[in-house]
Every structure is written in C-alpha cells, then in structure tokens.
Amino acid sequence: MKINDVILETVTKIVVFIILTVAVYLFFSGHNSPGGGFIGGLVLASAFVLLLLAFDIETIQKGIPFDFKRVAALGVFIAVTTGLGAIVFGQPFLTQAFSAFNLPYFGETELATITLFEAGVALAVVGVVVSIILSISEDV
C-alpha cells in the first residue's frame, strides 16, 4: 500500500527554505558571532537530509543533480586556493586579506578572503555529509 504523506511533503517544502535561510545566515554571521562554515554547512546538509526523508532519492537527484563527492572536493579546492592566493602575492601561506568596499545596496561592507575559505569548508561539509547519507541509504 502506498502511504500518502502529503502533510510531510508540504511541510518539508516550506521548512526547507527556512532551514536554507538559517544556514546562509549562520554562514555569514560566523565572523563576528557564533556560526561559520562548519555549522552553516551542517545546517545546509540537514535541509538535504530532510528532503531525502520526505521524498525518495531519485526525485532528489533529479532536482539537485550534483555528485556530492565532487562538491566536497570542490570545497577543499576552494579552501586551498584561498591559501595559495597568498603565495602568489609572496606572503606566507593562508595569509588573509580584507578591505572595506562601498557596495551599491549594502553600503559600507567589509569583505574578507576568509569568507571564501569558509565557503570551501561549508561545501566540503555538505558534500561529505550528503555523500555519507546517500551511500549508506543506497545499499538498503
């Protein structure tokens, strides 16, 4: 008998966007308050896990056609590259740069390369968590 879980699916569709917003908020708040790439990545991954619980794997992979192993690799690559950028400028590895910009909508904003590093961390966390869950669930 096919179980009808329309309530779960509908609630998931709404809640996933809230979770994604919280994830992005946590990611950007990491510099001055609790949060950062690791937590942001975990919360982001939890949104994918909720989608996997509510729907089946094939639907999710059709909707989000990423190979999550490569997402993890891409994350590590971004994180290393921000360190390598310092080498290009003759600074010690992982030296970070920051500066204030006057952006059109946000006004005076401080942008730092550490955000790119954290983006790499977040992608690596998402990739690893989703890969683990997908590869465990495939065998059952």
């Binding site: 490569r70 690559f77 310092a86 010690p92």
Partner: protein, 497 residues
C-alpha cells in the same frame, strides 16, 4: 621563496583534490599522480639544499607571529625525512600501476595515497603540537581507507582492529596535549620547550613524557604496544604495505625523537632509561618473531619492529653518536623497508605464495629480482659498504660510550637475526631446484622492477656516499642535541616569554 617548505605538503594536497575529479579516468590519474610525486620530490630536494645553506627554515602560516600562529619548521631532520617520503611515494605509485588492479584504482586509490603523503609530510614539518595531531589524523584516516580499499575479508577484519587501536591512541594524544597545555599554556613546540626549561621538570612533566611515549609508541609500534601491527600490515596489497611499512611507524619514531630531544631532555634519568629498556625488549621480541615465521610478509613485518627498537634505543642513549646513528638508520630503514615490501609483493605475484618453502630456484628465472633482493637483505642487516652499516655502528658506539654494554651487544646480535631471517628466504626460495618455480610471461616484470631498482640504487648510494650524507645528518643532529638552535630559529633571539 618563503613558502618553499610548505610545497611538499601543498603539492600532494592539491593533487589529491584534483584527482577526485578524474575518478573514472585511470590513465589521467596515473599521469597526474606521477608528475605530482616527482614535483614533490624536486621541491623537497631543493628544500634540503636551502636548509643546508641557509639554516632552519620557518614559515608563520597566515603571517601570525611565532608563538601565536601555527609555525611550520623545516630543520635538516624533517627536510631529509620529507625527501625520503617523497622518493618512496614516487616509487610506490610507479609500482602500483601494474599491481594494484583497476577496481582499486577507480575507488579513489591515488587521491588517498596523496592525502597520506600530506599527513606524513605535514607531521614531519609542523612546529605546533596540536597541528601535529591534526596531521597525524590526516595520515591515519588515509591509512584507514588504504587498509580497507578493495574490501576483502581479511582487510575488513584487520581494519576494525587498526582503527580501534588508533582511535584510542589519538584520544590519548589529545589528552596528553591537554595536560601539556594546562602546564605550559602554549602549543608552539619551541615555546613549549622554552617554558619547560623555565619550570624545571616537575614530576607531572615526567608523567607527561611517559604519556607521550605511550601515544607515539602506539603509532610507532614499540613493546608492549606493537600488538596491532603484524595483523594490520599483513592485510593490504604490496604497494600499500610498502607505504605503511616505510612511512607510518616512522612518523611515530620521529615524534618520539622530536619530543624527547626538544621537550623532555632535562630529567633523563627515568624517561630515557624506560625508553632504552622498552626498545631493547622490542628488538629481542622482534628478532624472535622474525625467525619464527616461514611467511615472507610476516618476516619483513617483524623486521620493522626490530628496526623501530634499534632507532628508539639510539634516542634513549641520547648522546651525539647515538642520535646521529638513529637519524642515519631512520632514513635507511624507510627506504629499505619500502624495497623489501615491494620485492615481497612482486615475489608473491610471481609465485602465488608468501610461504618461502613453497617455491625454489627463482634466481634462474628472475636473476635481477634475485640479486636486488640479496643486496637489500645485506643492506638491511648492515653489511659495511651498504646503507644499514653506518647507522647501526654509530648506535652501537653510542651505547658503548654510555656504558650500556648489554644493550649495545643486543643491538649487534639483532643484526644476525635480521640477516638470518631474510637470508633463509633467499637460500630456500631463490637457490635450489629451478623446477620449484616457473616464469610468468604475462606479468610485466620490467615495469614493476623499475621502481624497486630506483630504491635499491638510492639505498646503495646512501651507504657508499655516507661521508657526503654525513654533512647533512650532522646538521640535523646539531638541532637535536642543542634545542636552543630550534627555539632561536622559531622565536628569534629577541623573544622573551
């Protein structure tokens, strides 16, 4: 270029990440990993030259000053070990092409090997005790994957034991670092050394020295903590076994060497005596086990344990001769163990058996293989012109000058057992009736023997040009004897704690 000393860590790291994107394309994976390994070797040789001419190289990551940020320190010892690691990795990768099998190559074999090198090179280069823990974990996680990759029954069983033991020892490492941090309040190794010199070795530091010995002894397999090693190293295929045998335990030994010469050198009465006794028991038990087995892999595995004991005996003796000997022997042993594991792997893939009584007369069919095996056995035992000689004679010399005649004699006697244990393989397997084995034409013997020959030649020249190597090793030992050199290089002369 100030970032030179990070290149042996960064090159394999970036390579590993790039290789993940080419998971299915084996040919590209092989090419990239070979080029990267060669690049890493070149960078580390340049690093050795730089350290030789300009002294200890330090790099403050992220431009944060020494005790506050993570500092990478490349003195001669770590530069030489990084070079040996890169050479061994290159040869093991070349050996893998014909032997590891397509199935494993598709399951991220080459990226994981590169991650293993990141961990090993990082652990050799770091100047921060917690960063060392992190690099240990990078190395260990890659070794878990390499141990289980392929998923045969024996690999699964042994990797459970191996992971259990290593998680326990990693937890102990964290606890030890926490204790140390609560006493000295810093994690930078040079700064720790300075602070320990100020507090003048209270009893808690002796306890910590023993705790660190337990941690690194579990990683490096000294008595009574080597119980996990024979099973775990028996399981994986030959090139992985060679990487493990050459690199993993040596990182543990390097850490003992570093902590016992940089941190705990003030009150050597108890700690170094303990290390000496444990290493002598390690040598004795390893020798007994090495002659007890008829299985070539087991024999070589127990020879690792003997070598660990010999090196730690040199550290325990703690005089210039013995430390020089330990450094000589450490590098020699990394190379020669890689050679032996690769040779054993090659012999097993020819004869189909690792029991040397099951075949004979292999020398008739494979003369080059036979004579490289013969030379490497002589080098392992320490026959004079070859590489094992200088290290062992210096360690024995150091033991005698300390007045420990029994210990030095045990080290000398162990050479006989080493020679006997592997010469039996040569006599029974390579000599005798050629009908006891046959040629396997489908095996591409040339391309598998090529990396072995490179390693044998480097081992031979390491022995023949030991006078020339001695310039480098003397510089490495200067730092070990006088920690002030290390502290000055990291913190600078103006630094007051």
């Amino acid at each position: 270029m100030i970032n030179l000393l990070i290149l042996p860590i960064i090159i394999p790291f970036v390579t590993a990440v790039i290789l993940i994107f080419f998971q299915k394309n084996i040919v590209i994976q092989r090419w990239i990993s070979t080029i990267a390994a060669a690049g890493g070797l070149t960078a580390s040789i340049i690093l050795v030259r730089t350290v030789y001419h300009e002294g200890i190289q330090t790099l403050n990551l992220g431009s944060w000053e020494a005790p506050f940020g993570i500092t990478l320190v490349s003195d001669m010892l770590s530069a030489l070990l990084v070079t040996a690691t890169s050479l061994i990795t290159l040869c093991c990768i070349l050996f893998s092409f014909q032997s590891i099998g397509k199935e494993r190559e598709r399951s991220f074999y080459y990226p994981v090997v590169q991650f293993l090198v990141v961990g090993v090179n990082g652990a050799f280069t770091t100047g921060d005790i917690f960063n060392m823990f992190v690099f240990f974990e990078v190395m260990l996680m890659s070794s878990y994957v390499l141990l289980v990759i392929g998923g045969t029954k024996i690999q699964l069983r042994e990797s459970i034991k191996y992971i259990l033991v290593n998680i326990t020892s990693s937890a102990l490492f964290v606890i030890a670092v926490a204790y140390l941090y609560s006493i000295v309040g810093t994690l930078n190794m040079a700064h720790i050394s300075q602070r320990i010199a100020e507090v003048d070795q209270p009893a808690i530091l002796t306890v910590l020295a023993v705790l660190f010995l337990i941690v690194f002894g579990l990683k490096g397999a000294i008595f009574p903590l080597f119980f996990w090693l024979p099973g775990a190293y028996y399981a994986p295929p030959a090139p992985i076994m060679a990487l493990f045998g050459a690199l993993l335990t040596k990182v543990g030994v390097y850490s003992i060497l570093r902590t016992y010469t940089l941190f705990f050198y003030h009150d050597t009465g108890f700690t170094h005596e303990l290390l000496t006794v444990l290493s002598l028991i390690t040598v004795i038990l390893g020798s007994i086990a090495a002659i007890a087995y008829k299985d070539m892999k087991k024999i070589v595995i127990y020879n690792i344990i003997i070598a660990i004991g010999v090196i730690t005996y040199g550290i325990g003796a703690m005089n210039a001769d013995a430390l020089t000997g330990s450094v000589f022997y450490l590098i020699h042993d990394m190379i020669i163990k890689a050679v032996l594991f690769l040779l054993v792997g090659l012999i097993v893939s020819i004869t189909g058996s690792s029991d040397y009584t099951k075949f004979s007369g292999l020398l008739k069919h494979y003369p080059l293989l036979g004579w490289s095996f013969f030379i490497s056995v002589l080098a392992l035992a320490g026959i004079p012109p070859l590489s094992g000689f200088v290290g062992k004679i210096l360690i024995v010399n150091g033991g005698f000058s300390k007045g420990d005649i029994v210990g030095a004699l045990i080290i000398l006697m162990s050479s006989l057992f080493v020679l006997y244990s592997l010469m039996r393989v040569f006599i029974n397997g390579f000599w005798g009736d050629p009908a006891g084995s046959m040629k396997k034409p489908e095996l591409k013997i040339g391309s598998m023997l090529f990396p072995i020959i490179i390693l044998v030649i480097s081992s031979i020249s390491y022995g023949f040009f030991s006078e020339w190597m001695n310039m480098y090793i003397t510089q490495a030992v200067e730092v070990l004897i006088d920690p002030a050199v290390y502290i000055d290089a990291v913190l600078g002369n103006t630094q007051t704690s």
